[in-house]
C-alpha cells in the first residue's frame, strides 16, 4: 500500500496537466455563470436600436447585435442557460439510465427484453435526428430541449448500469445479502447503486462537453430557448443572417461554445486518463 499511494500522487503531478487545466477552467466557467449579473457590463436583453451592429470596441468588447444588445453581456448570461441545460440533461439522463439499467440488468427476462428493444430503436438512427423529431413534436423551448436530449442520452447510462448489474448479479455476496433477508429493492439500493455510481459519475463528466455542443446545435436549428433569451446557439443563428457585414455577432458566441466544450472535454478526458488502469500500470516496475 505504501508504495501505491505515492505512485498515484506522482501520476497526478506528472501527467495530468490536462486534468488540472480542465478543472481550473471548468470552475472558472461555473463561477462566471453563477456571478453573471455582476460581470455583465450591460443588460443582456436591453435593446438600443441606435447602437445596432457596432463592431468590437472598448465600450462593447464583443460588439453589439442587430438589436443593439451588448454581445459580451449576452454571452455571459448565455453561460447560465448552456450550463444549466447541460447539467440538467446529464443528471436526469443518469437517473433514468440508472433506474432502467439496474432494473433490467437485475431482473433480466422480459423487463430486460422490453427496455433493450427500446434502446435498439433509439440507436437505430442518428441521435440528432431523433432529438429534432421529439422537439418538433413537443415544440420549441428550453424544457422541451432538455426532454428531447434526455430521451436519447439515458440509453448510454442505462447500458453501463445494466452491464454492471449483470456482472454483480452473480457475485456471491449478493446471494449472501439475499440470504440475510434483503428484498430485491433493498439489494439494488444497498449493493448495486454504490457499485455503479462511480462509473456513472465518470461518464457524466465525459458527457458534459458533448452535451453543451449538442444543445447548441439544436438551438442553432431553432429548437432551444426562444428570443430574447441569450442562448449561444440561437445567437449564432441570428448572426448567420448578418455575417456579411457583422461577422462578430456569430463569431463570439461560437467561441464561447468552443471554449466551454473544450474545457469540459479536457476535464472529462483528464479524469478518464487519471482513472485508466493502463496508465496506473506504468507506475509499477514490472
Amino acid at each position: 500500500m505504501n508504495t501505491r499511494f505515492p505512485g498515484l500522487l506522482r501520476v497526478l503531478n506528472r501527467k495530468n496537466i490536462m486534468l488540472k487545466l480542465g478543472a481550473v477552467l471548468s470552475l472558472a466557467i461555473v463561477l462566471v455563470a453563477i456571478l453573471a449579473p455582476l460581470i455583465e457590463p450591460y443588460d443582456p436583453t436591453q435593446m438600443l436600436l441606435a447602437n445596432k451592429f457596432m463592431p468590437p470596441s472598448s465600450e462593447h468588447i464583443f460588439g453589439t447585435d442587430n438589436m443593439g444588445r451588448d454581445i459580451f453581456s449576452r454571452i455571459i448570461e448565455g453561460s447560465r442557460i448552456s450550463l444549466s441545460i447541460a447539467l440538467l440533461v446529464v443528471i436526469f439522463s443518469a437517473v433514468i439510465g440508472i433506474v432502467v439499467g439496474l432494473t433490467s440488468g437485475f431482473f433480466g427476462g422480459k423487463i430486460d427484453m422490453f427496455f433493450m428493444r427500446i434502446v435498439d430503436v433509439l440507436l437505430a438512427f442518428p441521435t440528432i435526428i431523433f432529438a429534432l423529431a421529439i422537439s418538433a413534436v413537443l415544440g420549441t423551448g428550453q424544457i422541451n430541449l432538455i426532454i428531447a436530449i434526455c430521451c436519447i442520452q439515458w440509453t448510454k447510462y442505462a447500458r453501463v448500469a445494466r452491464g454492471e448489474a449483470i456482472m454483480l448479479k452473480n457475485e456471491e455476496y449478493i446471494d449472501a445479502a439475499r440470504a440475510i433477508g434483503n428484498n430485491s429493492f433493498q439489494i439494488i439500493v444497498k449493493y448495486f447503486l454504490p457499485n455503479v455510481i462511480a462509473k456513472i459519475v465518470i461518464l457524466m463528466s465525459l458527457d458534459i462537453g458533448g452535451i453543451i455542443l449538442f444543445c447548441s446545435s439544436l438551438s442553432f436549428l431553432g429548437m432551444g430557448a426562444q428570443p430574447p433569451s441569450p442562448d449561444w446557439g440561437a445567437m449564432i443563428s441570428d448572426g448567420k443572417e448578418n455575417m456579411r457585414y457583422a461577422p462578430w455577432i456569430a463569431i463570439f458566441p461560437g467561441l464561447a461554445i468552443a471554449v466551454s466544450a473544450l474545457t469540459f472535454n479536457m476535464l472529462g478526458d483528464g479524469i478518464r486518463d487519471f482513472l485508466d488502469p493502463r496508465m496506473r500500470e506504468s507506475v509499477k516496475t514490472e
Binding site: T3, G7, S282, V283, T285, E286
Partner: protein, 327 residues
Amino acid sequence: MGVLLQIIDLNLDFMVDKKRVHILNNVSLEIYENEVLAVIGETGCGKSLTGNAILHLLPDNALVSGSIIYKGQDITKMNDEEFRLLRGKEIAAIPQSPSTSLNPLMRVGNQVAECVVDKADEKNEKGIEIIVNQIFTKLRLPRGGAFYHNYPCELSGGMCQRVLISMGIITNPNLLIVDEPTKALDWALRKEVVEILDELRKESKCSMMFITHDIAAAKCIADRIAVMYCGEVVEIGGTEEVLNNPQHPYTKGLIASMPSRGFKVMKGFMPSFQELPTGCRFSDRCEQFNEICTKSEPTMTKLTDGQAVKCFNCNSFDWGEGTKGCY
C-alpha cells in the same frame, strides 16, 4: 568447446517516473557452443529480461550497460538495423505464452514462413511452404499440409507452442533463446515440448538459453544451470553440481521447495526492485544471515569445476542433510 555468447557485467535500469530503478545487477554468464544453459528463478527475477536484452527487445525506458559478446562482437553496441540481420537468423527466440504470441489474424504457416521470407535465402514461396510443412511434421503437428492454413484461434495451446518452436528453428540459428516454453502448458504437454526441444538441439547442434522456473524441465535438458534472484546470477554451474550440491542458500531453498523434495517453502518474498536490501540482495530472507551480508555486496566466487556462487558464507557453512542425493 568455444564460447558462443558471453555476457559481461550486464546492468539494466528502468526509468520509472524519472527515477532510475536498478533491475539487472552485474549479470555475467557465458553460453558455450552446442550447450544448453538453463536460467532458473522465480517470476520477476529478471531471467526473461536477460533474454530480451540479448534480443534487443527491451522497452524504450530501459538503460543497458555492460557488454554482450556474440562471436567476438559486442551486440549491445550494434544499432537496430545491424542487429536485425542477426536476430531471427543467428539468434532466434521461442517466446512464452503461446496464446498471445501469435498474430490472431494471420495464418500460422505464413507466420512461420515469414521468418525466412524476409531473409531472402529462398525466394520462391512454394518452396518455403514445403519447408514449413516439413518442420510442422517433425514437430508432430496434425493435418498434413492443411495445418499451414489454420488461424491461431483454431489451434490448441500445445499446437500454438509448437508453432512458436517452428519459428525459432526454421532458420537453423546458432543460439536459441527459449523463454518459459512450458509455462502455460499442462504436464503431459510439458514433457512433450521439452523432449522436442531436446531432440532438436541434438539434431541441429545449436546452443540454447533455456529460461524457466520449472527445475524438473531444466534438469532434463540443461548442461549447465544459472540461478537468478532479484536481477542477479547467484549461482552457476553444471546441472548435476548445482542441483545435487547447491552452494547458495537461495538455490538450496529453491530445491527444497520442490514438491519432490519436501515442499519446504522459503520464508518471505522477493523484495520490490524499488526497495532492495543493502548489501546482499538475498540477505533479508537468508537463513545463514551474517553481519557482513548487509554491509557489502558479495562477489561471484569460483568453486571447483566451473561452479560459482555469489555468497559470503558459501564455504563456511555446513550444508547438513537432505540436500544431497539424486534428484
